[in-house]
Amino acid sequence: MKNKLITALLGGMLLLPAAVTAEPNQQNTVNIQAAFEFSSLDPTRSGFVFTRMQVLETLLNVDSQGGLLPGLASEWSIEDGGKLWRLTLRDQVHFHDASLLTAQQVADELNRGLNKTSALRGLPINSITANGDNQVEIKLSAPYRPLGAALAHYSTAILADAAYNDAGEVTALIGTGPFSVEEIAVPHKLVVERFDDYWGQKAQIEYASYLTGHRAEARVLQARSGQADIVFGLDPASVPMLKRLPTLEIVRSDLPRTLALKLNAGHRFIADQEARQALSLAINRQGIATAILRAPDAATDQLLPAYMSDWYLDGQSEAYNLEKAAGMFSQLGWNKNSEGWLERDGERFELDLITYADRPELTTVATAVQDQWKQLGVKLNVNVTNSSAIPSGHSDDSLEVALIARNYGIIADPLGILLKDFASSDKGGDWGSLNWSNTWVPETLNAMVSENDTARYQEQAQKIAAALYNERPLIPVASYVQQTAINKRLSGFRFDPYERSYFLNELSWK
């Protein structure tokens, strides 16, 4: 080990002259801008940036449909009725410090994650052990279907031993990806360099840099001026303007992320499912999608996207219908008062909505919903605050309505997320239902974890989708459309709907 390090160092020194001539500059670097800061080097906290920039890799990968693909593990098998996962590691995988990937190392790394906020935390795991040089075994106390997706999550990415200090803190990012760290300045800036000993498809570009751009309008300007080559999270409002520029290509990608209103179903105004349905009917989704999101087909009243077909009700949708909604409310005893607000027993229909400003669409969509509900007679007070107010309001029941953008592909199989959102406690889930009286859905979700029959799994999923659609614990507004600007000097850009990787190693200069 030590010898290898010395050889690597010597080799590095020999290569030094070449490295000096190739400093990162505007010509040889792909500049990436996105909204997200990384607050730490620890992958369990900020791993999303490091896997996207392809410094770190996970054991398994995910295809665009959510199916599992080999990653650092070339094969995997599920034995013992789903209670034992056996992963076989790829041969000859080098870390950036030239050391080799071993099974023991992977087991250690996964075990570390169990005590931190990795995707493995809280799963029914008994033990994670190395079996020989290239096998890792994970023993479960109960079958857990989404474990594979968890192993594809950024928080389970594999770091070299040398990345940790004695206290178990991450001090350097030494991974296995096609890029190694050239410069890192927490929380804004990460510059990576091509790693020539990569086991898979080697990169063509020399350098890539990641820079946090907090303000949406600043990111748009960066794209416009050509200062950034790839800009994620464009403000929909500026997309038409950017599209007219000859230097840019705007890529529209659908994400398994949905803009939805999280409702407190325990609130006396909206405890009736008719009330929630009426509120849903009063939202002009087409208008919002066209005028605000600038993507007419983004309008949806289903929580999960159509390509997650197990969870999508085909052909089911209900059009904007204000009169029907008003009729439903008058059935429930709500009538308009002289000021035009709905009133029942002398009480005005007034709700507080919280949302957060980090995603530019949320504020504007909230503003639009506010006005559309006003036409129905519902007074909605919009409060733009920090995203943490949502789980916090969930836990103390103070939340009434929240506008969220939920990613159902954080772990590639949506089951894991749905479990969290609808079945993590009696109340529901931080980013899912709140005080929803339905008990059948959480029970079924829990049962599906160990369901091995695909047809039955599908059938249950459809039933759950129908329940979500009819009872509206959340009111979906639109699916989230990711707009990305790419400078035309690059080719080979591909977008990962699960936002796990930027596929930088597939990019090339034109």
């Binding site: 906020t117 935390r121 927490v186 804004h188 960066q222 943490s388 931080d430």
Partner: protein, 313 residues
């Protein structure tokens, strides 16, 4: 003797400010709504990834259940050893991040002030000397410029120099070119006021009896300006810059936010949203200390320029 009194007074002020600012921010931050653990978790794990689990983990790790008093006392004790604690979000020592930010902020502020001086002094002198149309044009321009908030000046500068002319980067940091627009924005907004101050002071000196006497006793116009004009003008101008320091700092907060400049203002605004209390306290403290120190520097400059001590702020 006078100088020592002055420095002693400033030192006392420094101590009072350190304690006061720290305590004030502490109280204010305790008064902020929402559960602190959730906010910190949002800062740590990303805005969409925060949930009750993460918040519980944060609460346990940081001991947020402690009472306000014990947190306050331990903070005060640490402060005495110049230990500002660790950032709740990144876990890094606050003083380290502060130094990093401070460097960027000072660079921006220094460049802005330098630019303001380069613009304001020649213009102010020229308008005082020439008067007439030049003065009126500058007066109009300055008044117009002062009516624009600093972020609007920044936006306009971006539109013109970065978007339309494509000369300079829009935002970011790292190369000298990145510094130009933020510094220009700060410089312009400062110069809009400063050139009038220079103008007024120059006019005062040009019309002063001693300035006339310097010439009637035989000095040439240039000699009179260099030997009797410059120093007398600079006293109030330097004092004015002292008063304007607060504007500089406020401008820096807005400009850093607009241009993604990783300075102390940007850091502070960000820390407020993330509820990173040690960082907020550290940044506020640093600003307070910086403000007192810079004021002391201005005092010293005035003292050196004007030994009468009449102009000390």
């Amino acid at each position: 003797m006078r100088l020592r009194d002055l420095l002693l007074k400033r030192l006392l002020q420094l101590l009072a400010v350190s304690w006061g600012v720290g305590t004030l921010t502490f109280i204010l931050m305790r008064a902020l709504p929402g559960d602190m653990a959730y906010r910190i978790a949002a800062g740590r794990y990303g805005m969409d990834a925060v949930d009750s689990d993460a918040a519980a983990l944060v609460r346990e790790e940081l001991g947020l259940d402690q009472g306000a008093w014990s947190t306050y006392w331990s903070w005060l004790g640490d402060l005495l050893q110049w230990n500002l604690g660790n950032s709740l979000v990144s876990g890094q020592p606050v003083s380290e991040s502060l130094w990093h930010m401070l460097g960027h902020s000072l660079l921006l502020a220094g460049a802005g002030i330098l630019l303001a001086a380069l613009i304001a002094i020649p213009l102010g002198l020229a308008s005082a000397h020439h008067g007439g149309w030049l003065n009126r044009i500058l007066l109009t321009l300055s008044t117009g410029m002062r009516a624009l908030p600093v972020f609007v000046i920044g936006l306009l500068a971006v539109v013109v120099f970065a978007l339309e002319l494509n000369l300079l980067p829009v935002a970011g940091f790292g190369t000298p070119a990145h510094l130009v627009l933020p510094a220009l924005t700060l410089g312009l907004s400062l110069a809009a006021i400063a050139n009038r101050v220079v103008h007024t002071e120059a006019e005062r000196v040009f019309n002063a009896p001693f300035y006339e006497f310097a010439q009637t006793k035989g000095l040439s116009a240039w000699q009179a300006f260099l030997r009797h004009g410059v120093r007398n003008m600079s006293v109030p101008v330097v004092a004015f810059f002292g008063v304007q320091l607060i504007t500089v700092v406020e401008g820096v907060v807005m400009i850093e936010s607009l241009f993604s400049w990783p300075g102390i203002g940007h850091g502070l605004a960000h820390a407020i949203f993330a509820r990173d209390i040690p960082l907020i306290q550290g940044a506020a403290l640093m600003m307070g200390i910086l403000f007192v120190l810079l004021n002391t520097l201005v005092d010293l400059a005035c003292y050196w320029l004007d030994p009468r001590g009449g102009q000390l702020a």
